[in-house]
Amino acid sequence: MKGYRKYYLNKVLWLLVTAVFAFVLNFALPRLMPGDPVAAIVARLAQGMSSSTGMKVVYEQYAELFGTNKPIMQQFFLYVNNVLHGNFGASFSQFPRPVSDILKSAIWWTIALQFPAIIVGWLIGNTLGALAAYLRKGFDKVLLPVSIFVSNLPAFGMAIILLVIFGVKLKWFPTSGGYGFDLIPEFSWRFIWSVIVHYQLPFWSIVLIAIGGQAIGMRSMSIYELNADYVKYSRFLGIKDRKIIGYVFRNAMLPQITGLALSIGTMVGGALVAEIIFSYPGLGTTLLTAIMGQDYPLISAVTLLITVMVLLANFLIEIIYGLIDPRIKAAQSD
């Protein structure tokens, strides 16, 4: 474990740097735009409010909350402080519900949906890709075009196709929501069953999209490895095919893990839009209602949360990668 210290320290440092940068972006981007954001917010919020003193009070409240009357550096620290305390202000569209409250109920749906789906999709995709590379011939001829086509469908497209086939036509699964609209969240079999049934379509739409992309990547990685010199050498030595395959796929796997780390942001983005198609009560749908309602605090909080989730997922993959890849261990012991 000792040899890993430098590697992990490096990764933790990088996590912190990116997190700070994400904070800065989330803070700065809306403020870079011309116009006073608070004035715009208040104008939207105060539509239909006739008394000017009322508007002034609202304005001052928000100016205080975002600190727009203070210098920019101070604003930033105020913002970071608010965020670290989970204080994102009150939502506009669901006033006076605090944003953190809305997020608390949404985030678990998203985590429970996306992470298992991405991991399952990654596993199946890699298995299929490796098989295609090894078997070639018929299997490959079918799998490759299908994978290319599937991975080129946008995630929402796959979601709509599954929804129309299995939800609207066959009526096997419900078409929207995270659980039956006639139920209230509770710990009962009926509720859990309803959640499981509603889970299927969003889950498989994300899985299928992930399978396509991963299978293509794994296929070309494996083909590349299968042609490597060590494979030929092992064959000449008379090592069993099965054993060689084991080495090949372990080597082909490593870039795929890095690939997952690099593409997880895109995957999460796609899955968020897929959530919207199913009106799944996660962050995607929350984001949509926030945008529809011009709900600035909610949008800002959701984007920050998504970024942090992706950063953490990335960090986790890097940690696991460090454990798996022997080269990192070797590099550390120098």
Binding site: A22, I148, V164, S176, G265, V268, I299, I306, T307
Partner: protein
């Protein structure tokens, strides 16, 4: 060059992708020349008219010549259109529920069935266990069945302006036909209308054109930025490389969709045009290209021909243009193709989130998707409002990726079959 092109056009994948893309492009170019309607004109009053040929009823009644055709199956068709198997079964169900003996009902005997129906059905009677929706359904069914077996024509009447009484001006017999070519106003809507009553086909063609434009603008911007940064980082190295790689690594982990959402929202609805969105997408998606170009340039940097060029005293610009660019040109083309297709997808995702280009001017594929989703076309089974859009998106990205895979196999012999 010639040889490379010949090699590329020997790749099956490339040819398939190229053909699909060319067909799309030709449709986008030539369709507006033939059908010159504006894409966002609202023609239908109401939502989601199904695909088909729409014939003006007024024009066909007042058509100058009417033809009499004695077709045997005309009556059968007329009855079948209103009284299908499902309706017959529904009528039987109602009669049975009402207490009519089941063995006397024959759903295949139309005349007898309708007689039984007319004798027994009462529009206001609500049978046990019948929902309000079912009650309304039977009331509608009853109205539509009225006069279905009559063999007489319909009278056309006009109001006399003096007395206010209706006077017969014409008669439409059941055997009267018009030739669709002689009807003054006929509109063919191959994909029906959308939720606003606009012609989906015309809209779709325009949307494809706009989306392709967005894709090309965004793709070119992203590729140019990526190429410049990649060349700088890879060739100059040192501190420049460190800075560029730091920025690139930052943006690799921060999801680009988040940047897109934040920027698009900050720009505001009024200022968001198609080109603005394209530029925003371009400026948020150069990361991959930068990384890849940089690593290619690094491997080229110490090749003999580059060193020779350096020794000959060529300038950096000359070395990059003459000794490095030709080697990465194929890669840049492939990156551009991928950038274009992913920019089209990014626009679609943004639009579904409600952050697409503002809606009054031009349609885009994403906006059409967004409208269809908001009006629940997928739940209401109005396939023509969303499926063609999805198909076009898939075809564009699929064809571009096929071309890309084809190119990859030409330039990367290890991947060849």
């Amino acid at each position: 060059m010639k040889h490379t092109l010949r090699q590329i056009f020997h790749s099956g994948k490339f040819i398939i992708g190229f053909c699909i893309f060319t067909v799309l492009l030709l449709v986008v170019i030539f369709y507006p020349l033939i059908i010159t309607d504006k894409p966002l004109v609202i023609i239908g009053q109401g939502t989601f008219f199904p695909p088909g040929t729409y014939v003006s009823t007024y024009d066909s009644i007042s058509s100058s010549t009417t033809y009499t055709l004695n077709l045997k199956d005309a009556n059968l068709k007329r009855i079948a259109a209103k009284l299908g198997d499902q309706e017959r079964q529904d009528i039987k169900d109602w009669l049975v529920a009402d207490g009519f003996p089941e063995d006397q009902i024959d759903v295949t005997n139309t005349a007898q069935l309708l007689d039984q129906w007319d004798d027994n059905f009462e529009p206001t009677k609500r049978l046990e266990g019948m929902t309000l929706a079912q009650l309304r359904y039977y009331q509608r069914l009853d109205t539509s069945l009225a006069g279905i077996l009559s063999s007489e024509g319909k009278i056309i009447a006009a109001e006399n302006p003096e007395t206010g009484a209706l006077e017969q001006t014409g008669m439409v017999n059941q055997s009267d036909y018009v030739n669709i070519r002689e009807v003054a106003s006929v509109r063919y809507l191959p994909l029906g209308t959308d939720n606003f009553g606009r012609d989906v086909m015309t809209e779709l063609v325009k949307a494809t054109a706009v989306s392709l434009k967005i894709g090309v603008i965004a793709g070119v911007i992203a590729t140019l930025i990526g190429l410049t940064l990649g060349l700088l980082a890879g060739y100059i190295g040192g501190i420049v490389d460190d800075i560029i790689m730091f920025i690139t690594n930052l943006f690799t982990v921060i999801p680009s969709i988040v940047l897109l959402i934040l920027i698009s929202f900050s720009i505001g609805q009024e200022k968001r045009g198609a080109v603005t969105i394209a530029v925003v997408i371009g400026f948020t998606s150069w990361i991959w290209t930068t990384r890849a170009i940089r690593s290619q340039v690094i491997s080229l940097r110490n090749r003999d021909h580059v060193n020779l060029s350096k020794l000959s005293g060529h300038s950096i610009v000359h070395i990059i243009v003459a000794d490095i660019l030709p080697y990465i040109a194929s890669y840049v083309v492939m990156a551009l193709i991928l950038q274009i297709s992913s920019a089209i997808l990014a626009e679609a995702s943004l639009s579904i989130l409600g952050l697409g280009p503002r809606t009054t001017e031009v349609p885009t594929l994403g906006l059409m998707m967004n409208w269809a989703m908001i009006y629940q076309a997928h739940i209401l089974n109005k396939w023509w409002a969303y499926f063609p859009v999805l198909l076009v998106i898939a075809l564009i990205t699929f064809s571009m990726n096929l071309m890309n895979t084809g190119l990859d196999q030409v330039f990367n012999p290890a991947l060849r079959d």
